[in-house]
Amino acid sequence: MINGKAIKFGNNIDTDVILPGPYLVHTDPYELAKHAMAGLDPEFPQKAAEGVIVVGAKNFGCGSSREQAPIALKFAGVKCVLAESFARIFYRNSITIGLPVLVCAGVSSKVNEGDELVVDLQNGKVENKTNGAVLQATKLPEFIMEILDDGGLIAHLKRSIGTNE
């Protein structure tokens, strides 16, 4: 179970606002995290620090293939991203780096900024503790759950290729 307060965003949140191009030169995830959402809300890293759930609307994460975008969110404190729909590279990258993402119809209307959410990844259930709404998200396929359970693609590959010491 994942729980946390919701921070809401609108449609077409692109990776240039999630992590603007000039910060791509950084390789330290905590350095990237300091600039998470810099294009929209420079205070975001402070707000996310306690552990939050980001709620987006349509086409969350569109734009560039920069994996640094979900990394910045994850290390800033985002535990999970829920949205009506995701751009595909962002979606793949999030799973790759071990940030759970769920397509959840209705989430942008049934959740308000600051609502307390509980997410059951295994079953794709999202519960809004603040207003009592329960939403059914699209369940993640088995092999994606495996990658997330292993903690991301690197750990998953280490286990499957056998480079794990």
Partner: protein
């Protein structure tokens, strides 16, 4: 099956595949660059595999911050140089050897119809212009490809875009592309494939086809393909000795839907801030003041683009107070532009002509904007802060529209004013 299904079926050693199915495909070519490559290398080392799966199938290109713009980017370049040396990767395009990755890839013969190509860059979909299934992936996925040569894909539903009609003078592939994006929307093709067909597409040059495929990702698409024809084969065969295995859609292939576009009356188009699907005919935004005009990028930094722009600018002067920046997309294009006198035309007009690289397109280097400034650009994205300040504005248009606007200092219809 359609062309995308056929390519994915062959790459995953299956007879047939259908939308929604998840397949593991063998990768034919993997491309990485200076901004996403170092992270891929870091992840590759973490996986713990010593050698890449096939050093001949990997291409590394320095293009985003070139020549190095800072101590940090110099470090990124060094990381990539050391990696290609260590791994015996011969297809490496250092500063002064290549240019923007998506131009260099086909130009140097790394793109072939029917193949599966991945790149750690979202505009990898550009190679769909040659009938390849090409798509962008993240750095760690690239590391997984380096290690295994394979990657999972969900077979996408495919939208067919059928273009008919003949372009008016000075209206081009970019205007068609922006028009299609306006119709389909920035999220209209999420996780889907696009296939561009119809007589208008057949008539397009290779340069023009690349504009369409390049911006497929701007509609959320995973890939945007154009069926290979004689033009494709002529281009590709001149650049590679490898045998080609082109594929085409069957006559009875299934599509999720068909979108029709007629270009006969199409006006020049402009995508206005801050969304690529916020597309308007130029007549609605004419007169908007600009501070910078950029001709370049993997969308429109090709020879044909420079020729068209130079025709507009020849013998004229860039408006006072406007910075015009021209960046040929590759060394080959740059040299041709020098030989054809295009560089002279731009310089005499008062434009800056830069070395092949991404330039201001992503706000990393060469032409970053400050608060309140506006740029009209031939590139592909106008997101908030894309070219620098989050309080700056990017308008997207064709090379001739950008050239005409550079001369007047305002967004200008190239078909009316500057002839």
């Amino acid at each position: 099956m359609n062309i995308i299904e056929k390519i994915l079926a062959r790459a995953s050693e299956k007879k047939t595949v259908s939308p929604g199915e998840i397949v593991e495909a063998n990768i034919d070519v993997a491309m990485t660059h200076d901004l996403t490559g170092p992270l891929a290398i870091k992840s590759f080392r973490e996986i713990g595999v010593k050698k890449v799966w096939d050093s001949d199938k990997i291409v590394a290109i320095l293009d985003h911050l070139v020549p190095a713009s800072s101590v940090i980017s110099a470090g990124l370049h060094k990381t990539l140089r050391e990696f290609v040396e260590e791994q015996g990767i011969k297809n490496f395009y250092d500063v002064g050897r290549g240019g923007v990755c998506h131009q260099v890839m086909p130009e140097q013969g790394h793109v072939r119809p029917g193949e599966v190509i991945v790149g750690s860059d979202s505009h990898t979909c550009t190679y769909g212009a040659f009938g390849a299934f090409a798509t962008g992936i993240g750095s760690t996925e690239m590391a997984a490809v380096f290690a295994t040569g394979k990657l999972w894909f969900r077979v996408p539903e495919v939208i067919k875009v059928e273009a008919t009609g003949k372009f008016q003078n000075l209206v081009s592939a970019k205007d068609l592309t922006l028009n299609i994006i306006g119709k389909i929307g920035a999220d209209g093709a999420i996780y889907k494939g696009l296939e561009f067909c119809g007589p208008t597409i057949r008539e397009l040059t290779i340069d023009g086809r690349m504009v369409l495929a390049n911006m497929a990702v701007e509609m959320g698409a995973k890939a945007g393909l154009i069926e290979p024809d004689q033009k494709t084969l002529d281009y590709v065969q001149a650049r590679t000795d490898k045998p080609l295995k082109p594929l085409k859609s069957d006559a009875d292939a299934t599509y999720e839907k068909v979108v029709d576009v007629d270009v006969s009356d199409l006006e020049p188009q402009v995508a206005v801030p801050h969304s690529v699907d916020n597309v308007k005919p130029v007549s609605e935004v004419e007169g908007t003041k600009i501070d910078q005009a950029f001709i370049g990028s993997c969308t429109n930094g090709r020879l044909e683009d420079l020729r068209e722009a130079a025709k507009i600018m020849k013998g004229k002067k860039v408006a006072k107070g406007v910075r015009a920046i021209v960046i040929p997309a590759s060394q080959e294009i740059y040299l041709n532009a020098v030989n054809e006198g295009l560089v002279r035309t731009f310089m005499e007009a008062g434009a800056t002509v830069g070395n092949p690289n991404c330039g201001p397109c992503l706000g990393g280097h060469m032409g970053i904007m400050t608060d309140g400034e506006a740029c009209i650009s031939t590139s592909n994205r106008n997101f908030i802060g894309r070219m620098g300040s989050t309080k700056s504005f990017v308008y997207l248009a064709s090379p001739v529209t950008v050239a005409a606007s550079a001369l007047t200092g305002k967004i200008t219809d190239p078909t009316k004013k500057v002839q």
